[in-house]
Amino acid sequence: MDTSKDQSLLQLRSVRKVFARGTIDEVTALYGINLDIYPDDFVTIIGSNGAGKSTLLNIIAGVFPPEMGGKVIIGGEDVTDLSEYKHATYVGRVWQEPHVGTAGKLTIEENLSLALLRGRPRGLRPSLNKQHRELFRSALAPLGLGLEDRLNTLVGTLSGGQRQALALVMATISKPVLLLLDEHIATLDPRTAQIVLNLSDMIVQRERMTTIMVTHNMELALRYGNRLIMMHKGRIIVDIGQQDKQALTINDLVTAFEQAAGEQLTDESMLLSHR
């Protein structure tokens, strides 16, 4: 019996996705992806534009379902046909743009209160109380940004880096079983990007959270996580575990890419992004 299959936290089975079906713009974004992610995995996914990384994350997050026959199973439950807000019970997500993951017209504490109720019914209890505020302060203090003293500040007045750090706390505060980081530092300046990246790593380690981080940047993909997946044109072409990953270099990745894809790696943004 295959026991590892029972233990996997996320199972994707024959996940296909076609956009604009039946039109001249028809494009297959994913070809029959099979993937198992295990508890405590920190998986980095790398690939050039059009590789299918975002489509994959969107399917895991339930933004849209895969084509008929595909399956998405999280924590043993088949969530394939559940709507996005139900996926949220299991999946926390940080988007590329800080303004997507936070609500600018609400205060920091209101944003965190919304995040705290992930996956729970929202009723007619007051959304904020003293215990909540204490919890929020202790969640924000480790960021070292001073946000814990500004609970009543409108999020729209924060900087991009501060907002993204808040988005990170919001994605993790209710401890979903899976954390998706969707190129979440791509729009930040290098220094802020490094800070947010360190915070991500700190939170993931502390909460032992199963994480999938999508990135354009090979160096990041090598430096973080215990498993590296490379996608190309809707397929997984490289899947490297912890032991092989430690010895891996960017040149190895380029070689692996060229062997697997059977073509030259031309996406400069992937090669040159050595943040």
């Binding site: 996005e84 997507v100 209160s113 992930r118 959304s127």
Partner: protein, 304 residues
């Protein structure tokens, strides 16, 4: 002589301001909280009035009739929300479709275009009877003020609850709140429903106060509500739930003050809707003109 005129202007603005404040609060919920431009208002206002009128004429208690009117408004708004979320019809179109179809529905409810309520026991008369007095402007203002306070307190509480906060987040960042596990379809339906419940309450009160319900009395209600919300926002710069609700109330009063003065200056009542519309146009284009003056760019207005 002069103080009496001013007093007259103030009391009539106050009673009209309070009675239409529920429309402003309704418009505030859809436009400002949900960011859902809902035009159902012109129809649901009359639905509230006609349900109350029909029930009062057929001998029901005026309180019951007013509550039933709120129920009718809640149902209208829920249908608008369903059209938008479950059938993916844009908010503006869903509201227009409802506004038009409610015109027919309202004619059916009233079995005609007009119901007089002059000798009926309205909510105002029954409270006047209870206190053993006749219906007066001061009494009407008192009743409306108590009602407005109750509605204010309920909404101020609701918008701070877990559900109410999720509603506000739906209007601010729908993608985020869905990603945090809140059903945005449900939030939209609840918000639209609540909004039109308030509007229908206003319709029921207006019909009972003026002594008749007319199928055309809702025309331009949405623009009036919008004007009140915009004026309130510009004058009071509200931040936070309570002050935003109060700004909607205050905005309605200031708007009615304009209107009352305009009427006393000799403008025909028929001109009021044009004046209101011009007021809203001016308020809406100010940000663009300001940006233009600073040579800043502003994207074209959305078509849908």
């Amino acid at each position: 002589m002069l103080p009496a005129t001013i007093q007259g202007i103030l009391t009539s603005s106050l009673s009209d301001g309070l009675i239409y404040a529920f429309v402003a609060v309704g418009v505030f919920i859809t436009f400002r909280v949900l960011a859902f431009p809902d035009l159902t208002v012109d129809g649901s206002f009359v639905t509230g009035g006609s349900i109350a009128a029909v029930m009062i004429v057929s001998g029901h208690n005026s309180f019951l009739a007013t509550i039933a009117a709120i129920g009718g408004g809640l149902a209208c708004g829920a249908v608008t929300g369903l059209l938008n979320t479950k059938l993916r019809i844009t908010a503006l179109l869903a509201g227009i479709l409802m506004m038009v179809s409610l015109y027919s529905v309202n004619l059916r409810i009233m079995s005609g275009a007009n119901i007089p309520l002059l000798r009926q026991i309205t909510i105002f008369k029954s409270i006047a009877n209870f206190f053993g007095t006749a219906k007066s402007v001061i009494l009407v203002i008192g009743i409306l003020a108590v009602l407005a306070l109750i509605v204010f307190m309920i909404l101020n509480w609701f918008l701070r609850t877990e559900l109410g906060l999720a509603l506000r987040a739906s209007g601010d960042n729908e993608q985020m709140i869905r990603g945090l596990g809140s059903d945005t379809d449900k939030n939209t339906i609840i918000g639209c429903s609540l909004s039109n419940g308030m509007v229908a309450l206003s319709g029921a009160l207006v019909a009972q106060n003026q002594g008749f319900c007319d199928v055309n009395m809702g025309i331009g209600m949405i623009v009036m509500g919008l004007a009140a919300v915009i004026i309130g926002g510009a004058l009071f710069h509200p931040r936070g739930v309570a002050s935003m609700l109060l700004a909607a109330l205050g905005g309605t009063f200031v708007y009615r003050l304009f209107i009352t003065i305009a009427l006393r200056l000799g403008l025909a009542p028929g001109d009021l809707k044009l004046i209101t519309a011009v007021l809203v146009v001016i308020a809406l284009c100010i940000p663009y003109i300001q940006k233009k003056a600073r040579h800043e760019w502003m994207p074209p207005a959305v078509k849908f």
